[in-house]
Point group: C2
Chain length 224, copies 2
């Protein structure tokens, strides 16, 4: 086993990374008195913005629900899970519905601007993406594809939170249509798939002490 005894490029050691991933769990009960400091929350928003996506198309919006009254309204359409109202922060992950050629055009224009190159130089990539979105409806569910990208952002968000010492709970058990309506996303052409609560675990959350349940390494990782 080649040990990386030399200083490597990474910022944290493998041991510390794993310690944080083991520390992470789906919080059942948040400490209602603790708020995530603004600079840390801002970094977590940036983490969402920086999430990778297929083609880089970013078919999403992240809705930070700050208004306590609005969070109370979301509670009954979230199986009354207390994290919705108790957590310091709540983010709804929404994808754009029916991504199409217009979205590709927008992305190509934006890429040309950011990279300070002519849009024409991206023609090959553009055609590739147009071909991709053009398959929508022909045995290809582009809304499902967009939803999958949201899960990349979720994995990124949960891990980033863990290495910053922030607790989280991803929640799929919501009524997405009610969310769309309450958050006014239906009119914008977006659709919520799940939410994530973030903050600090309560000392009263007994589940924090439960050993993490994972299948054995050899049952999940195989070699070829």
């Amino acid at each position: 086993m080649t040990m990386s005894t030399q200083k490597h490029n990474g910022i944290i050691s493998p041991e510390v990374l794993l310690q944080q991933l083991r520390w992470r769990y789906a919080v059942k009960k948040f400490d209602v008195t603790r708020k995530i400091p603004a600079d840390i929350w801002h970094a977590l928003e940036k983490t969402l913005v920086l999430s990778p996506s297929s083609f880089g198309l970013q078919p999403w919006k992240f809705i930070v629900v700050q208004d306590p009254a609005l969070r109370e309204r979301l509670l009954p359409v979230s199986w009354k899970q207390s994290q919705i109202v108790d957590a310091s922060h709540l983010v709804a992950f929404a994808h754009k519905k029916d991504m199409n050629a217009h979205d590709v055009e927008r992305y190509v224009k934006h890429t040309a601007k950011v990279r300070e190159i002519p849009a024409e130089s991206l023609e090959g990539y553009k055609q590739l993406m147009l071909g991709f979105v053009g398959r929508a409806g022909k045995g290809f569910d582009i809304n499902d594809w967009a939803a999958r990208q949201l899960y990349i952002a979720l994995g990124n968000f949960l891990t980033a939170s863990a290495v910053l010492g922030i607790d989280t709970c991803p929640i799929e058990g919501i009524d997405p249509k009610q969310y769309d309506e309450i958050l006014g996303l239906d009119k914008q052409g977006y659709h919520v798939v799940f939410v994530a609560a973030a903050g600090y675990r309560s000392k009263e959350d007994a589940s924090a002490a439960h050993p993490k349940v994972r299948y054995a390494h050899e049952d999940v990782v195989e070699y070829r």
Copy 2:
């Protein structure tokens, strides 16, 4: 703005996290001469094992393709993308097909064993999960659900790699059926959805210098 000037629980600062996420990009050309040290790779495998999933059901396997001959065989069914053969490591993300009551039983048994509690005490949770998998086929595509969970593992893997200073490239452009056959997963009841290559960027990868293309924060993050 409340600044977290006090030492927080996290392991890295928000600034360093964002620096690593900005450093990350989808590598087009890997350095074929550099291998990820064994201890770091082992941590990345553990990262995959520790990935969160809906209900904790872990409907997945992660296939590390080590055999160079096998990676050569995967090249033509991966649009000949060089990362398949050039990267230090290659992982195929596969989900179990048609998750059902049997998988719930297995998970409940495993949970009871790990937590050293009677399986009976998990009856409520078990019924909830049985109800969930029982909806399969009735307007609910459980294979799509399982595929989505793989994207959580991907987001986790990409971010974990970034904070360890390891380069990656997620690749959706593959022929999944060919992968299933070549890796012998079809017989095991698993299905590959995408792969991720990991290693070190080549100095010749011009795309490493391209500015990252993301929509503006205010276009992607909204408040309610």
